[in-house]
Symmetry: C2
Subunit: 458 residues, 2 copies
């Protein structure tokens, strides 16, 4: 590696994870007097709030992903390395990184661990086996292919019961992800697929069912917005089932706690996330959800050179409530940890993290959303949707993506079209060696096993 070393050695900051936390940390450190190395197992930053759009054929994978090297192309003090973190040695202050090319031990002066979270099935084996997560970009494409293939299969089938199972989508989890995914699938089924398969599917027209354990959707929201969200979903045609849990999953059906059996080949699990297993590499006690307790300066207790930000960090706010695993917290913590490192490097005292909370927002579908701005103003319907749209267009990474996403949204809005409705599957391939790709699962193991992934998730 040909690196220029300046005469006075600058502090080395290693950032694990190029999600919202890691990326904001790196951007804060850009062009500052430190050397930054960002490590991720993907070569791109994922704009995860729009992942459900990939799953529902509204956007292309590349429209919500931005190559990390591209983001820092004009920044000379930020390097990138594609690889998996194999170990963290806080005593020696180095991280072991693994790729097919070998092993590297990268030293650091300061470490920012921003490895995020992954789908949490609460150990329900049948869900892990037959359910679909919606957390990684691959998840989105795999789910898109799966649903589109099932409709093509239904067009082949002469069995009405089989056709029903193939065209029914069950989503578990009444949070923002569950809501937007339900709404988007209902639009895809109701406005696009139903028409295109009409002659071949007959009376079977596709259903979307949303399951929530509690007796209301969107727990953190006030009652009025919870009810508005439910009303908007139902007005689209989504069946909302409250107060029920999934007791069993088979390849062809989902059984609920009430005993009701829903024939389906598609169970989407949006009921929770858990901390990345990378947290365990620090060797410090974790909280019961696997997150790393940090000080208000975002340092690991006992490891003052290690900062943890985002979903992986456990910190309580002024009222004693733990910060949620949401993107704005991750972004602000990433920025804050980076600033604290710069303050230390300059011999200045660190500052405590304070979250600037602008409220809550969830989208349901075309012209449908709920928003709770600064926990004061409650918006529903079209005006909430426009607010949601504007926010995401503004924050979406990269100008071209923004333009394309805007074109796609306007087009979708006017036509209900879903142009990205392509079934595209391809195996990893390499001409030089035999290699096991992380996403290449053996054929007898019909799922991607998100719980086995041990690298930064977003």
């Amino acid at each position: 590696m040909s690196e220029q070393h300046t005469s006075a050695r600058r502090p080395a900051v290693l950032i694990i994870g190029a999600g919202f936390g890691g990326l904001n940390a790196a951007q804060t450190l850009a062009d500052q007097d430190v050397d930054v190395l960002v490590v991720d197992r993907h070569n791109f930053h994922l704009f995860s709030p729009l992942l459900y759009q990939v799953a529902t054929s509204g956007l292309e994978p590349g429209e919500i992903a931005s190559p990390v090297r591209g983001i820092f192309r004009d920044v000379s003090n930020v390097r990138f390395l594609l690889g998996e973190v194999e170990g963290i040695d806080p005593a020696a202050r180095r991280v072991t990184i693994l790729s097919k090319e070998g092993v590297r031990h990268e030293p650091y002066d300061y470490l920012i661990l921003a490895a995020g979270s992954q789908t949490h099935t609460f150990g329900i084996e049948a869900v892990e086996r037959y359910g679909f997560g919606l957390k990684t970009l691959s998840d989105g494409v795999v789910l898109r292919n799966h649903v589109l293939k099932n409709f093509e299969k239904a067009a082949w089938s002469d069995d009405a019961a089989q056709r029903e199972a193939l065209t029914t989508i069950v989503i578990v989890g009444g949070g923002p992800t569950g809501l937007e995914t339900s709404g988007a699938f209902q639009e895809l089924l109701g406005k696009v697929l139903r028409e295109e398969y009409a002659t071949q599917l007959g009376d079977v027209s596709g259903r979307v069912i949303l399951i929530e354990r509690l007796d209301h959707l969107l727990s953190p929201y006030p009652e009025r917005l919870r009810r508005a969200a439910r009303r908007q979903l139902e007005s689209m045609g989504v069946e909302v089932v409250l107060g029920e849990t999934v007791s069993d999953v088979t390849p062809d059906a989902v059984r609920l706690s009430s005993g009701r059996v829903i024939p389906t080949r598609t169970l989407i699990w949006a009921a929770g996330v858990k901390a990345s297993p990378l947290a365990r590499m620090l060797g410090v006690p974790l909280d019961r959800s696997g997150r790393v307790p940090v000080t208000t300066t975002l340092q690991v207790i006992g490891l003052q050179d290690v900062y943890v930000v985002g979903d992986l960090a456990y910190l309580e706010d002024e009222r004693g409530e733990p910060y949620s695993m949401v993107i704005p917290v991750a972004k602000q913590q990433g920025q804050h940890a980076a600033r604290n490192i710069l303050r230390r490097a300059r011999g200045k005292p660190q500052r405590s993290f304070h979250y600037h909370d602008r409220g809550l927002m969830a989208t349901i579908g075309r012209s449908r959303a709920v928003a709770w701005i600064y926990y004061r103003v409650q918006l529903t319907g079209f005006i909430a949707w426009v607010a949601w749209l504007g926010l995401h267009l503004i924050t979406l990474m990269g100008f071209r993506n923004r333009l394309n996403v805007f074109v796609n949204w306007v087009w979708n809005y006017l036509t209900y079209d879903r142009t990205v409705r392509i079934i595209l599957e391809h195996a990893a391939r390499d001409t030089s060696e035999q290699e096991a790709e992380p996403h290449d699962q053996p054929q007898d193991q019909p799922h991607n096993q998100p719980h086995n992934e041990v690298m930064p998730g977003r």
Copy 2:
């Protein structure tokens, strides 16, 4: 299947292949007094002229693919079936179609075979094993991932020779595909990757080498345009090697007929296509390249209910020259076969096919192209490139795709950016059964084996 049958039975037209030939046939038959079934093994039509843009991270896969069901959404007499053709029985007038859901025998009154062509490696085993084709949408994504992964591997490597092999791209074939692929990779390497990997790759900066068997590029073009194409490629930095063939390929190198060895991990084979093996299912004698000889009405000799169009049809023009395997011929033949079927159904005489040839056009890169309009006007450079761009924007399927592609092109032109630079790999997956996906190759077989595919290629 719940189909409405009109009282008077309408002729059933079965179209195999949703490439340019099959699609134009189906569009000609739309809303006419026939029942049309389109069969393809993919659910989309591929705008193949821009496939090289997917391989070089310029466009998204979905931007050059259009779902067949979407194209015919408002057309009541055109149905679609996703599946592989297993057999054609001209005597019984039916086609056997296979999918994971089972087998179907679809009857026809008229068959239009538009199964296209596939990559032809002329039986060179090492090319089949280590080379990359660029014919299917999967080919494009697989190649994109491969090249981007190789640059990430190079960033890991401390071995300069290995870094060179990882960042050298060899393209075989001096036709339009070879030229545009060379030019686009040179732009990706020279303008984007070289900068982003500068600190990690040092002096190794990536090379593109184009190999052509003959002593000139673009055989069908006049000498002036051949030389202009070569000059434009070389001005970009592409090394053009003429009068040489590939004598051997290993995982790490390509050996040329002169004995020269080029260290490379990426050999792209753009040196030829061959007819789809589906031609053999007709049971008639084929020409030596595997194409089906047809009459001037595009009917198979001896099988008057079977029409063959596009790359799969062998027909000579007025001067006794066989029509080339190019898109305009396929489009016009698809349309012509459909019109002849409609004429027969109405008791009218069929007409002979005459090709309306507007000339030749090949693009090389940003502001670089050659065009031979109506075999009279010779254009080079920026004006030829604008002509090429306009033609492709006009003919690209679907309004939204056109808009997005335009946005991407303008953006790329102004910034040299390549936003779609994401490495995204995922295996096929199914929750309901164990299935062998056509693109899931076992790990010990490091290629997609295009020569084994027995279905309509495009």
